[in-house]
Amino acid sequence: MDCKEFQEKVSAAVDRYLRNEEMDAFTEHGSRCPECQYEYEIESVTKAVVRSKAKLLPVPSGLLERIAEQINDEQNSGFAAMQTWLLAFLQRPFVKPAIVLSFASAVVVVFLTTGQPPVNPAADFATDDVIQQSLTNYRAVMNGDIKPQLVSGRSENLKSFFSGKTDFPVLLPTMKSCSLVGGVLNDHSGAALAHVLYTHNSNLIYVYQACWQTVIKGERLKLQQQAKDELQRTGWFAESRPDGQTIVLWTKGTTLCAAVAHMSKKDLIACLTEGEDSEYRGW
């Protein structure tokens, strides 16, 4: 064995990975070469010091319970999310000015007066249809029945909130004269859904997001063929509803978005198309 080979094997020798013959050759070289032998010895000592002084510590008490609780909350996210949301809402100074938003105050009032557990967007509805879910959720948000799980006007916070939790990139487009309000995450039959809320002047814009592939497949989430065709052809599909709402669907990559607002088709599309797209990729 020469010095080069010896040096390459020092760690393996220290950690006892060398086979008998290899170790013999290793030791033999060491006995002839003080430089190499030093490397072996000093590394052994270094390892020994680490082993004796940096012991494995027990997991602190309470950590396990906290994790179990967290997972429990995750599982029963409705009620726990509401409580956490309300606490966060009341504690965040930068959210207080947002109380002027009709949405936010309606929500607080509803909570304080009815104390009802929130309705999860889309989760409780028998419908798999994306448009129906979006419209229903929008109405629920307007009624204050749905509250954001994260209230924040800063896209970085929402990016973190959504990070890694969906199988599609959650889009946080910066829309012309719109402010972010917050977001909700949940799923429908196992398909991840993201919901983002914006305000535009005094209007609320609700954006439903899902994995476009999942919708195309049509098993867990459905969309009428006409809408699918148009989306695939032009990337957009818009519909004015009789009650003054507009719903606009669009796709970007693997994300399908559906925006609902009490605005004209023209105005809503203008909001959505003007301003830069901010895309955040999940896991």
């Binding site: 040096q7 390459e8 020092v10 760690s11 393996a12 220290v14 950690d15 990975y17 030093y38 010895e41 000093i42 590394e43 000592v45 270094t46 390892k47 020994a48 010091v49 680490v50 082993r51 004796s52 002084k53 940096a54 012991k55 494995l56 510590l57 027990p58 997991v59 602190p60 950590l63 396990l64 319970e65 906290r66 994790i67 179990a68 967290q70 997972i71 429990n72 995750e74 599982q75 890694g164 939790k165 896991w283």
Partner: protein, 190 residues
């Protein structure tokens, strides 16, 4: 202590993942050198793991799967820019070592003669000062006692890389330890 949640998924997850909390906690602790951060990292990791539980292939190495989630969380939150470590004076260590070596009859005493009676915190600090890549393998090998193969799987690199990172990491460590020993007056300044 009621640990187990009400539904089957929670129970299954707790059963499978909790036994590895020890290893993950200690890894987090040695990487951040801070119990609060380690706590946060572990909670974050387990929550993510639970959310992605259906993405875990049953029967495959769950420890490696959990570890990779934690590593990503660590990188996202704590990783500083990797820079080349300061140039170290290896000769200093060698000279001192050579001078005391012949005096120590028992190789086991060498540890103490060389670095003195360093405190646990000194060693923890020295480990924490290593660049992330080196620190990871030193922790996994010397503190957690994982095999090269296990380390290679966790870190997702060839075994040769594990070996060379260990070698370089321990090399850096020796001069850090020497520095601590000097600061404590165990080793003559010259």
């Amino acid at each position: 202590m009621t640990i187990f949640g009400p539904n089957e998924k929670q129970r299954e997850f707790m059963r499978e993942a909790i036994p590895h909390m020890d290893l993950l906690y200690n890894f987090g602790l040695r990487m951040t050198n801070n119990t609060a951060d380690a706590d946060d990292l572990v909670q974050d990791t387990f929550l993510k793991a639970y959310r992605f539980w259906d993405k875990y292939e049953k029967g495959t190495n769950i420890r490696a799967w959990l570890f990779r989630i934690m590593k990503n969380s660590y990188i996202n939150r704590y990783r500083k820019e990797t820079k080349e470590p300061d140039t170290v004076d290896y000769d200093e260590v060698k000279n001192f070592y050579t001078s005391i070596r012949d005096e120590s009859a028992d190789p086991n005493d060498l540890q103490e003669s060389l670095f003195g009676n360093l405190l646990d915190d000194d060693v923890a600090g020295a480990v924490a000062s290593l660049p992330d890549d080196f620190r990871t393998v030193v922790i996994l090998c010397d503190i957690e006692g994982l095999t090269y193969e296990e380390i290679a799987e966790f870190v997702d690199c060839p075994i040769g890389t594990v070996r060379s990172r260990l070698h370089r990491g321990r090399k850096l460590l020796r001069s850090k330890l020497m520095q601590y020993a000097k600061n404590r007056g165990y080793v003559p300044e010259n």
